[in-house]
Amino acid sequence: MPNDISEQICQQVKQAQQSAQPLSIHGSHSHDFMLPEFAESQQLNMNEHQGIIDYQPTELTVTALSGTKLEEIQQTLAKEHQRPSTDFPAFSADATLGGAVSIGHTGSARPYYGAIRDHILGASLVNTSGEIMHFGGQVMKNVAGYDVSRLLAGTRGTLGPILEITLKVQPIPEQQSTLCMDLDENAAIEIMNRLAGQSLPISASVFFDNTLYIRLEGTEAGIQQAQKTINGQPMADGVDFWNSIQQQKHDFFTSSQPLWRVIVPATTPGLKLENQQSSLIDWCGGLRWVQASEVSTADIENIREKGGYIESFRGSKPMQQADLMSPLQKQMHAKIKSAFDPDQLFNPALSNFA
């Protein structure tokens, strides 16, 4: 049974507004390591607000309260041979849907199935007066009003507590298979992109330690045909491998070195940061995970010149998103923040756009 505590959450927001006390909105804390410290005076815990409130397999939609665990959603969908429409990274068993949307980072399927935000159909949000606002809906196509539900992806709770989210879901493909190829970094980047330009049932490609891993998902016939086209070695424990990437339990992610998240155009050749120890390439080349004791100004500049950006992820001082924006982008963020939260009630320490 869903445990809907919307009323309690709205009440807490109202009180916060009346007493002018900012709120620290959080789920399972599974991303705290990457967020700047924020100890606002009051905690707004979304964890209890959980449960699937509507699941219609034939409509391909699921609506859940924001504190619902991703694991519960996955298990419920799996009973109907369905799953979320893209990879949701989960770093702990109690990672929540609201947390995943608020952070907005997508797993390895990003280049093939789209980002998390691509599969958000609707959401409800609490305004500073403690009223519930509904945006989007439970249907596939909806262009009435501004697309506030997708806007919420990546907002880190700074526009208000998200109460409910409707996601598009997809059937679980009949089969999954993983192929490996031994290659150097630049050859791997080129091959990932070449393959992505062909009609093949690829759903992820990762390069690590001179091996390119390609995940195929589809019908039995489709996968057999793709295996013939791609000249790779089948990997026996492919499912475990992809889980270890999604949950960051792979050896690469468990190192004690600080971890950086680098976003670049997918075909950018291999990066060599000054203090780089190791790297793992995901998203068909568009996401480079880099281990480095620290990052130099020259590294930052070099990545910016390539059209991308670098952010600290784990093990070093967390960064503000605003630090990665141009002055005009910051200004636009500040305006949107003030449209939703003029009183600076919601996670103000995470939204210093001014």
Partner: protein, 498 residues
């Protein structure tokens, strides 16, 4: 503030044509400034010609800098600006308002870059949707969203409306296929929105906010789109049903069998008849006609087609035909793609609606539409993107008959309200524009509408960007008596009623 969301009033100065022409000539060449009656009439409406007004002036800038200069000028002089693409919109989104300058992006028609390895194209906003696919064809890539107007509509307009198409269930809408934008805000500043050529960007998803914002938040001057590989093969199956409920059941069963068709379309008897008379696709005449397209590798299609065929038989389809080659596939689609003009041949005028509903509500909603049809004495042909629940009832009327247009509009409004009551929306892909502005009052409560107005007011302080469209004023909703009690809640409790 020039624009008041509560009343919908905006105060724009009654500017002097000659002095504005003289000012704009300082940075816009004379041939790109249209102000004579004969030049202006093509700009009086978009694809929804029931609403029309001749603008006072049309400007056709050729550079981003000129666009910025125009916006800065208009802001300074409090002149509304309406950005216009190809003018194929279906909701009156570019209808000129009093005192507005129409800023046409028709001259922004260049494809600036195609990167086949990275599978993206950087294009100017006036580039036609289909032109992107044609240019990418040499790399075996294409741009997926394919609104029926794709031969003429522009990519900038697609972004402004978040256009869909017949393949959106599998391949997504415009918002799912665009990586980044360059946008001019109401200060005339040029903003980068989205990740450039990257798949992520820090902060809020501003790219999503811009999609479907109907020219109210900025003027799109560059679009970076994703291209995807052309499927190896595609095949269509056409199935006829004696009962709409059987066709609805077939749609449900195809989806729950784990197949996501590339396209899944339905037409009712009147629409099928009109399409058949027009393009001679050799359609069987039945209460409902279903078209289901599968794409992928040949072996994949064969495997899935077998399942689909079985489902269609089990759902009592009495006539099932599988396209045997690409030309037959094109013929099967020809009728569907020409459904709107085909219906145009059997009635002096038609009014196209765009509600979206949960698929399971289809038989009930079609039944209700049939009741409304009897009530208003107007015929209706139904064309339906069955895969994503997007319904296009075409209401047939005669504009020359007194009261017919009003009846058609009221009929349409009733359909949209019913879509909302069934858990759907008033517009799936055509936008709100001026046409559905009153129905917005039925779909949203005042706290939500107010939030939309706050976003607009902060991003466009002077209110010059396409004012009066897409989001109704709270006053208008209250005054309209949009008092339909939805889920037991009064929609606009804080607004005085009279």
């Amino acid at each position: 503030m020039a624009f008041d969301p509560h009343t919908g009033q905006f105060e724009f100065s009654n500017w002097d044509l000659q002095s504005v022409i003289a000012d704009l000539l300082e940075f816009i060449p004379a041939p790109n400034l249209l102000h004579k009656a004969s030049q202006l009439s093509p700009y009086e409406c978009d694809g929804l010609s029931a609403y029309h007004k001749v603008p006072k002036m049309v400007v056709l800038p050729e550079t981003i800098k000129q666009c910025q200069q125009i916006v800065k000028y208009c802001k300074k002089h409090s002149i509304p600006v309406i950005a216009r693409g190809a003018g194929t919109g279906l909701s009156g989104g570019v209808l000129p308002v009093e005192q507005a300058i129409v800023l046409s992006l028709a001259k922004f028609n260049r494809i600036q870059k195609i990167d086949p390895l990275q599978r993206l194209a950087i294009v100017q906003p006036g580039v036609r949707n289909l032109a992107i696919t044609e240019a990418a064809a040499q790399y075996n890539l294409y741009y997926a969203p394919d609104p029926s107007s794709q031969i003429a509509c522009s990519i900038g307009g697609n972004v402004a409306e978040n256009s869909g198409g017949v393949h959106s269930l599998k391949y997504g809408l415009t918002v799912n296929n665009v990586l980044s934008l360059k946008v001019i805000n109401s200060d005339g500043d040029l903003l980068d929105i989205g990740g450039g050529e990257c798949m992520d960007s820090p902060g809020f998803d501003l790219l999503a906010l811009m999609h479907g914002s109907e020219g109210l938040l900025g003027i799109i001057v560059e679009v970076t789109v994703q291209l995807i590989p052309k499927p190896e093969s595609a095949q269509v199956v056409l199935a006829a049903f004696n009962k709409i409920t059987d066709a609805g059941a077939a749609v449900r069963d195809i989806i729950s069998s784990g197949i996501i068709p590339a396209g899944l379309e339905m037409m009712d008897k009147l629409a099928t008849q009109a399409a058949e008379d027009f393009v001679h696709a050799n359609y069987p005449l039945a209460e409902a006609l279903l078209l289901c397209e599968l794409d992928g590798s040949q072996s994949e299609i064969e495997q899935q087609m077998e399942k689909v065929n079985q489902i269609l038989k089990n759902s009592h389809s009495h006539d099932i035909r599988l396209s045997q080659n690409d030309s037959e596939r094109a013929l099967f689609w020809a009728g569907r793609k020409a459904a709107f003009p085909a219906v145009g041949r059997i009635s002096p005028d038609y009014y196209c609606m765009d509600g979206t509903i949960p698929r399971k509500a289809l038989p009930e909603v079609l039944g209700k539409i049939s009741d409304f049809s009897k009530q208003y004495g107007l015929r209706v042909a139904n064309v339906f993107h069955a895969g994503d629940g997007n319904l296009h009832p075409l209401i047939l009327y005669d504009a020359n008959k007194t009261g017919d247009l009003q009846k058609a509009e009221q009929f349409g409004a009733d359909i949209l309200k019913h879509c909302v009551d069934k858990g759907g929306t008033i517009t799936g892909e055509h936008g709100v524009g001026v046409e559905k502005i009153d129905q917005m009052c039925h779909q949203f409560h005042s706290s939500e509408l107010l939030k939309f107005h706050q976003i607009k007011a902060l991003l466009d302080e002077s209110g010059i960007l396409n004012p009066g469209k897409a989001i109704p004023s709270l006053h208008r909703c209250a005054e309209l008596g949009a008092m339909h009690v939805h889920n037991g809640k009064l929609p606009h409790p804080d607004i005085p009623r009279f």
